[in-house]
């Protein structure tokens, strides 16, 4: 199993997850990557994606596992000559088994382009957002795993996967707290984390060491 780490930036951040699946299948076909297909009535390429990214949010750390027999470096090179703008891959990992990206990734770091502030989460963190025209309130303190300072900017580590917190849902609250005017397209995901024995391990490190 080969795992690509790729970005989803610029115009590509507006491509939905469903459409991304189709895009990637086509990229793989253009790149002549010998991906394996499932058996059955309508075979599909064996591609496994990390959890969907909220529409509009960019990422420097998306992952895609590909079941194909070829060298890792060649996969990276071929993928990059055939992928659309904003979807370039930066790294490739060789894994002996499917890393189960959707199931095992539990957190992601997002950078919000405002000055770093320590946010006190001891009393929880209530957000308000609009969903299908309805304003909703939700207590999300338990889904914010860490408040970090990355190069002076605010970085939040948020629950990803089965328990999920969309970064854009925090915007209303953060903008109000810090007098900012950020929107979803300003947020960048910079890392994903696997959970191993109750510990969060950064995805690159995890995939590098996956037996």
């Amino acid at each position: 199993m080969l795992v690509l780490k790729y970005e989803k930036t610029a115009r590509a951040c507006f491509i939905s997850h469903i459409d991304l699946l189709k895009h990637t299948e086509r990229t793989i076909r253009r790149a002549e990557i010998p991906v394996k297909f499932s058996n059955g009535y309508s075979p599909h390429a064996l591609l496994f994606f990390s959890a969907p990214l909220a529409l509009g949010v960019s990422s420097k750390a998306e992952y895609l596992a590909i079941d194909a027999d070829m060298s890792a470096s060649e996969l990276l090179a071929r993928y990059n000559t055939s992928c659309a703008e904003g979807l370039k891959a930066s790294k490739v990992f060789e894994c002996s088994k499917n890393p189960n990206l959707q199931g095992k990734v539990v957190a992601s770091d997002y950078i919000f382009p405002i000055k770093y502030h320590d946010i006190d989460l001891s009393n929880g963190f209530e957000i308000e957002y609009v969903r299908k025209g309805e304003t909703k309130k939700e207590e999300v303190g338990s889904k914010i795993f860490a408040v970090k300072n990355v190069d002076g900017k605010l970085c939040l580590c948020l629950a990803t996967g089965n328990t999920n917190l969309r970064p854009d849902r925090l915007l209303g609250m953060l903008n109000a707290m810090f007098g900012a005017n950020m929107k979803a397209t300003d947020i960048v995901k910079v890392a994903q984390y696997f959970k191993v024995d109750d510990r969060l391990i950064e995805a690159d490190e995890y995939l590098d060491n996956l037996e």
Binding site: A10, R11, A12, F14, I15, S16, D19, K22, H23, E25, R26, T27, I28, R29, R30, F37, P43, A45, L55, G56, S82, C83, A84, E85, G86, K183, A184, T185
Partner: protein, 588 residues
């Protein structure tokens, strides 16, 4: 100040499917190359539909292949995006470089359907471009229209500076060059238009004199004509999201109601070798997982077997599906059914009885319908049947014939498969008399009669188990009929309807019948008057276009129709329609 991209980004977060508006598709041509002149192709429908249009893809490709010239695209923004753009004062822009339409050298609309006319104005409106050519000076781009509706441009002619009648492959680029050159030389708009008038197929309403003829544009060498081997790959799933190969233009069948069949003459086939090469190149460059063959009657294509042979190994190796649409019964071969996925058969007898099929020259006989049994043997379990109602001379007996065909198919299925369970879906459109057909003078049945016949058929089909029935909106058919053969006055109706709130008329949920009725009334017209029979010696608004097919031929065909006499397929020999004066028909 907020940059344009910033402003746009915040809007995109508020609309459905923002990927419709961002461009950046794979295979986008180089937008940074030197540009002397540029052309924005506009398609008056949403992205997913517009991106499926082969005509636009061909023309876009031709201009971008030309050194010094660039083509970009723009589709009709969906309601939500249109509103956001207005709110934030954003003028309609191209997808590739986000350039306002106003700033292009030429803006060209592909108009493929009468119910898109209001969307054309919607896009003009969002672009800040005055609707009527006479209200636009040199500061605006030359506004051009083309596409299938150019067969009768009268209802929208006043909106445009030039209308390309026929094939745009040569004309569009020639016009772009003339405008670019003219602007460089500082010529006035009318001086530029005078030059455009010399291009074959170019109709310039402002300079058109009574009695002048516009000869339909036909590309000289269809076989080697440029083709988008490196097609754009849609950002979001398009209606036809696959490699499309155009096998031939025109149609040899000569169905008397079919505008495309006459308009796209002369009949020119592309060789199977070239089609195979194009299909492979498209799949490799775009990564599509499906190839579709496009032409008016694909299964009539001479090189079909050769083509399937040439592609089958390739498709297998690449996991690509080859789909074969619009089969005609008379050309159904059991081999064709063998390998294709056995989802559903599609057949279009168009009329329920032999008598009426002879009238419309749909050469499908009862024996041929019986041949469908072969497909049942091959494993098919469902079939889609396409019919038309309201055809000239139609009676209830012909509608009963549709029911009989369904019963017959069920019986055939039972004979072959020894079980019941055939699914039949019957789809019935309403006949619309269209320009450039032998039925261009016919009356359309009234709205009430459409409703009655729809109910009549529905009742009778209900009694046949396993048959589902769907039919087109009668109201939209009346409007389509009125616009199809309309004259210049209709442009005021279209403008009025748009101002009263009509747009996206093709979408049932947005079609506003009351608005259209009001628009006709306010212009002092009655829709019913526009769909009646036309005297054969009356001048028609599209008479000035020489389509190759003579009016005499159409009249003769009409007479044959009334006598129930069929005309042979052009593949068996030329019937002398006249189209070959514009280019050789390669099939006989």
């Amino acid at each position: 100040m907020q940059s344009f991209d910033d402003k746009l980004n915040s809007i995109l977060l508020n609309v459905e499917k923002p990927a419709r508006y961002v461009g950046g598709e794979w295979n986008t041509p180089d937008m940074t190359k030197h540009r002397e002149g540029d052309f924005c192709f506009c398609f008056p429908e949403v992205y997913e539909i517009g991106m499926s249009n082969l005509g636009v893809a061909i023309l876009y490709d031709i201009i971008n292949k030309e050194p010094g010239f660039v083509a970009e695209r723009c589709y009709a923004p969906w309601h939500d995006m249109g509103e956001e753009m207005r709110k934030h004062d954003i003028s309609l822009f191209s997808l590739e470089t986000r350039k306002p339409l106003k700033d292009f050298t030429v803006v060209g609309f592909s108009v493929g359907f009468e119910l898109l006319y209001t969307n054309v104005l919607y896009m003009f409106d969002l672009a800040g471009i005055p609707f009527r050519a006479k209200d636009r000076d040199e500061s605006y781009p030359i506004m051009l229209a083309g596409g299938p509706c150019s067969v009768n441009p009268a209802p929208f002619a006043d909106f445009f500076d030039v209308i390309v009648c026929g094939e745009g492959e040569v004309a569009d680029l020639a016009i772009l060059k003339i405008v670019t050159e003219g602007k460089k030389q500082g010529l006035s708009k009318s001086e530029i238009l005078a030059r455009i008038k010399n291009v074959q197929g170019a109709y310039v309403p402002a300079l058109h004199k009574d009695g002048e003829t516009v000869v339909k544009a036909v590309i000289p060498d269809f076989e080697n004509a440029p083709y988008p081997e490196h097609p754009l790959v849609p950002n979001i799933e398009a209606v036809h999201d696959r490699a499309t190969v155009e096998l031939y233009r025109g149609c040899a069948s000569g169905c008397r109601f079919c505008q495309a069949g006459f308009w796209y003459r002369p009949i020119r086939e592309r060789s199977a070798e070239r089609c195979v090469a194009l299909a492979k190149e498209m799949v490799e460059s775009a990564g599509f997982d499906e190839i579709s063959l496009c032409s008016l009657s694909t299964s009539d294509y001479t090189g079909l077997e050769q083509l399937e042979e040439g592609l089958s190994a390739f498709c297998k190796e690449k996991n690509v599906n080859l789909s074969l649409p619009s089969l005609r019964i008379s050309s159904f071969k059991p081999e064709m059914a063998k390998d294709v996925k056995k989802n559903s058969l599609t057949f279009a007898p168009e009329a329920g009885t032999q008598r009426l099929r002879d009238v419309i020259n749909k050469n499908v006989s009862e024996e041929e319908i019986e041949k469908i049994a072969v497909a049942f043997e091959a494993g098919y379990e469902s079939i889609k049947l396409y019919f038309m109602m309201g055809l000239p001379t139609e009676t209830d007996e012909d509608l009963d014939g549709i029911v009989e065909i369904c019963k017959k198919l069920k019986w055939l299925y039972y004979q072959k498969r020894h079980k019941r369970g055939l699914n039949i879906s019957v789809s019935c459109a309403v006949f619309i008399p269209k320009p450039c057909t032998p039925f261009q003078w016919e009356a359309q049945i009234s709205l009430e009669e459409m409703h009655r016949r729809q109910m009549y058929l529905r009742e009778r089909l209900r009694a046949v188990k396993g048959v589902s029935f769907s039919y087109h909106g009668a109201e939209t058919s009346v409007l389509e009929g009125a616009l199809a053969r309309g004259d210049e006055k209709l442009s005021y109706v279209v403008e009025k309807a748009y101002k009263l709130g009509a747009k996206f008329d093709c979408w049932t949920e947005y079609f506003k019948w009351d608005v259209w009725q009001k628009a006709f009334a306010e212009c002092g017209l009655k829709m019913e008057d526009c769909v009646g029979a036309i005297d054969t010696d009356k001048a028609l608004p599209w008479d000035f276009i020489d389509t190759g097919v003579s009016k005499k031929y159409l009249l003769a065909q009409r007479n044959l129709a009334y006598q129930g006499i069929t005309t042979k397929n052009c593949r068996e020999g030329c019937n002398g329609c006249g189209a070959n004066k514009l280019g050789r028909c390669t099939i006989c």
